[in-house]
């Protein structure tokens, strides 16, 4: 049974250097249309050290478009931009898609947030860096694919061995005849 409201967001994790962009896709997987509003919020640690959404939005990160209407089965891609202006350190952001479904006096909307970790180079005071998101380690450089190299090496070794054996045999015969 399909639900009237059902929203899916993908993907959900980013490492976003300054100057980069990223994209999330919002999909209406329910049976009713809704309007999606996009926004960016910071993720902070509360007094207990737990990571939580804040109500603040960084001035240096934006997401476009600001809104889109999704029909059932429809999808829309939103692009977020990490502009210069952030202080050095790792900044945790939530790229948020809000389904503007709220009605009545006390409205309740539904939101899904993708995480973006923004690593800004520069001096950071020791002990102040407690990121909520995990920054992926830089990918290891691609190693050499040894399989074809080994195959070629074996062929070359065999040819060389044959050459040496043939040369010695011919040399021995030549000496014998001489």
């Amino acid at each position: 049974m399909l639900d009237p409201f059902r929203m899916t967001v993908t993907p959900l994790k980013f490492t976003a250097p300054v100057g980069s962009t990223g994209q999330i896709t919002v999909i209406d997987t329910g049976t009713e249309k809704f309007t999606v509003l996009s926004s960016v919020r910071t993720i902070d640690r509360d007094t207990a050290g737990l990571c939580k959404l804040s109500n603040t939005a960084p001035s240096w990160a934006t997401v476009t478009p600001h809104s889109a209407v999704l029909d059932p089965g429809g999808r829309r891609t939103f692009t977020f931009h990490v502009n210069p202006g952030a202080s050095p350190g790792i900044h945790d952001l939530a790229i948020i898609a809000t389904a503007d479904i709220g009605t009545g006096a006390v409205k309740v909307n539904a939101s899904i947030g993708a995480q973006a970790a923004v690593d800004v180079p520069g001096h950071v005071a020791k002990g102040t860096l407690k990121p909520c998101t995990t920054i992926a380690a830089p990918p290891k450089p691609a190693g050499i694919d040894w399989e074809p190299v080994a195959g070629i090496g074996v062929i070359v070794a065999l040819v060389v061995a044959l050459f040496v054996m043939t040369y010695r045999l011919a040399h021995k015969r030549g000496a014998h005849h001489g």
Partner: protein
Amino acid sequence: MRVGRITAIIGGAALALGLSAGPALADNPGGNVAASVTVGSSLTLTGLSPTVNWGTVAAGASATQTNAEVFDVSTNLVNGYNVEISPNSGGLGAIGDTAITIIQPSGSFAPGTYPFIENGVPITVGTDRGPTADDHYIENWQVDVPATAAPGTYTGNYGVYAFAN
């Protein structure tokens, strides 16, 4: 003459090697089909109610809307997700967000009582540290109207936020 013989032997060896390597280099000898699929991370929120309505409540009294919000969260994230309830604008005007308590009864994912501690500050009502097909949330929303609340209709705007861990 000798050089020619050597060349012929090497050529024959190379040819033999080439022939023996032939089947390994041939395209798709067994009719196999290479298949791959890329699965991206995703998170889905299902079935929220768009409104909470306590009706008319006397000053100094409490009211609870049972099953005010019932929803499911699913994700394939290895580290799971968090759900927060966040006031999006001045919650319930002069009454304030701190008058509201979210109660997740037994049968709900993460059962417990979650009051708004501070006006404008989100509260966490659920955390799952791994992938899940459907975490089912049942929420009763309670409001404690201050005895000094002036007559009138108070409005608010809240958001249920599910985000990656």
